[in-house]
Symmetry: C2
Amino acid sequence: MTLLTELVARLADVVCADPDVMEGYRRDRASWAPAGLPLALARPRNTREVQELARFATEHRVPLVPRGAGTGVAGGANALDGCVVVSFERMNAILELDEAAMYAVVQPGVLNVELKQAAAQHGLWYSPDPSSFEISTLGGNVATNAGGLCCVKYGVTGDYVLGLEAVRSNGEVFRTGGRCRKDVAGYDLTRLLVGSEGSLALITEMRLRLRRKPAPPSTFVALFGSLEAAGHATASIVRAFEPSLLELMDRTALRAVESHAHLDLDLDAAALLVGQTDTENSSQLLAMQNACEAAGAHLAYSTEDPNEGELLLKARRLAYPALERLGSVVIDDISVPLPQLAEMLRRIELVAAEHDVLVATVAHAGDGNVHPLIVFDPNDESARVRAHAVFEQLLVEALALGGTVSGEHGVGLIKAGYLRRQLDATSLELHHAVKRAFDPLGILNPGKLLGSS
Amino acid sequence: MTLLTELVARLADVVCADPDVMEGYRRDRASWAPAGLPLALARPRNTREVQELARFATEHRVPLVPRGAGTGVAGGANALDGCVVVSFERMNAILELDEAAMYAVVQPGVLNVELKQAAAQHGLWYSPDPSSFEISTLGGNVATNAGGLCCVKYGVTGDYVLGLEAVRSNGEVFRTGGRCRKDVAGYDLTRLLVGSEGSLALITEMRLRLRRKPAPPSTFVALFGSLEAAGHATASIVRAFEPSLLELMDRTALRAVESHAHLDLDLDAAALLVGQTDTENSSQLLAMQNACEAAGAHLAYSTEDPNEGELLLKARRLAYPALERLGSVVIDDISVPLPQLAEMLRRIELVAAEHDVLVATVAHAGDGNVHPLIVFDPNDESARVRAHAVFEQLLVEALALGGTVSGEHGVGLIKAGYLRRQLDATSLELHHAVKRAFDPLGILNPGKLLGSS
């Protein structure tokens, strides 16, 4: 009996080995990460079937590659040769939504937006808002500890995970955390699994905290003649106020959006800052606008109208599609301490010029989390090589400024080598020791996050 | 050469073996947890000396028991026979306070209040506020993931830890996390060490996030004729508003405080709820007061004056000292989901009556975190036994209500057996595997948290 026939015999309704179907499950959106040829695709419907997959994988030393919606950009969900890709698309139920306890219990295949909508029906809010929230799954969000735009006030995905159910590589199921917001009973295995990119266990159920819905936001926008001024404005706003969103676009991003959408943006500006506040204190909005002007903004405007605010955010939301018109876009993801934000933006411009590559930058400025959008002609090999060099050089620059090689997108395949540069030798050894503690045979998403050891 | 002479030879200025001195380092405030006789007390001055202690301990298989100020109540810092107690009292420097980056780098021996004061000089705030904040160390706070009163809005200690420096049991030093608020590079070893009670590594340095100082709070107080009504008020306030504090006292606590301090409290009330808000929206205060009245409060009062607010909090702050006048007090620490709060309070009254033990309860109500204060005559062995039975029965009741055996005080020695009841078999096995990954020889605080294996 071949491996595949045994797998089909054990999980007939779950397994698919049609090459045409599998082709759609081989990679995420990391355009230059390698992707292997899977043995099979598995679409389990419940925890029991995930356990059976794990037992099969352990018996035969077959790698399992878990997968949400494939919207990741680090190659974390890319297939390995001979692996079983485990898609959680059929485990897509909201199992419980407890309004009084203010949490939901969901399966990993539920889309972020689906939980947001279900919570809204009870006047509640699931806060984490990665840009992909309409198409990415909560399982993927938790596996990568996804960030987003509201993190500056409301934190990242991990801040909303109360507890998990997960399956070990040997097929055993276990639970972490619980129902309580305060819980110090034992090691924080919940936080250890969050962001572990499917390399420690297969998450089969998540208990996620919900919040009361905040007031509608008011919005300001400001234009700056220099990156330094925009950096100073960002720091002084975070220092003195509580923005619920604080986003930045650099000159190149502004120009790309303007030529795409004709919003009448000021093309001489070095940077645009757009911010929101949802406190019910209207003086905060004007004070943030004033902070921009004090930092040197040559134009600043604010509105308490949520619809007009959404229009002001439009330029920021259009950055990615505008850039995609100009070529293939690779999105980098680094974070630096807030005082280094302007210097990081300056270095991005330098590195882009040095390698003759178009790089437009958007940033979750309030968190120091920067997304250089690296554009290149996919048919020009030399351009691809230069774009790749820029991508990697920016990781080096982030580390030099005391930053991190990933703020919110994860390490996956494409940054494993740089994670090894970021961590010291003992920390790296502890990472491997933790991996072995959970998955001694290296069945779960091998080669991701930690690289090949 | 004996073990002790070798240790003294290697770390002369650090080690003390005077039995009179060591006596003060044998236990924390867990009055009925066992405490052994240490081989020596070590008071290292820097990371290098901590590393040398770890190397000595590993070479000779000597347990190390790390210790902050000894204010813990779970026996986590209690000595073991033949161990070296490692007190961090000499590593008490604030190494860095970066106002722009909004973090401080501190050694573990710094008191919580010292960082609060240093931050306040820059208009910043170190939020975590365990009741012991004036006498407990940040190292102890991080090792136990200490909670406090402001958690209901501002989260627990772990939410403020950006990164750590720590020493493994083999003497290797490593760093976790970093300077960035958003950082997904690798496993979250920071959160794994937070709350690990010194059982995974010796924390030698901590980078802690600071906040802008919030507005002065306004305060309400409300009295209820039933626990159910107080529970409903708590749930509806958390559901609809954003209190920065929400504390509860039951009838027994109220009576003890009244007979101690004569504050003219209503002794017919079943519970008192006191809450604060620091939003600049003054309608929130009245709305919370109204929510209490709607839930059945027979008296509710609010004030925007911070000084008067502090007076309203006085009864809550006096609960522990008032109870101590009546006998030895053991403080229990459990959490339940918010909808179970009233039922948990009801069960506490039942269990106390059943065992004929005086139990007064205070609670960080907004988090569902309940502290039964169990009072007994230390000279009456039967009373001690009954008090102990109550302590343990309340852990069982918390588990039955979907809660946890420790919300914020930790597991230490006294709850290791109940942690094993809370975790499933695979989770427990993973706890041990993680322990072995960090500390394969079991040098660090053995027997704490996980118990003797």
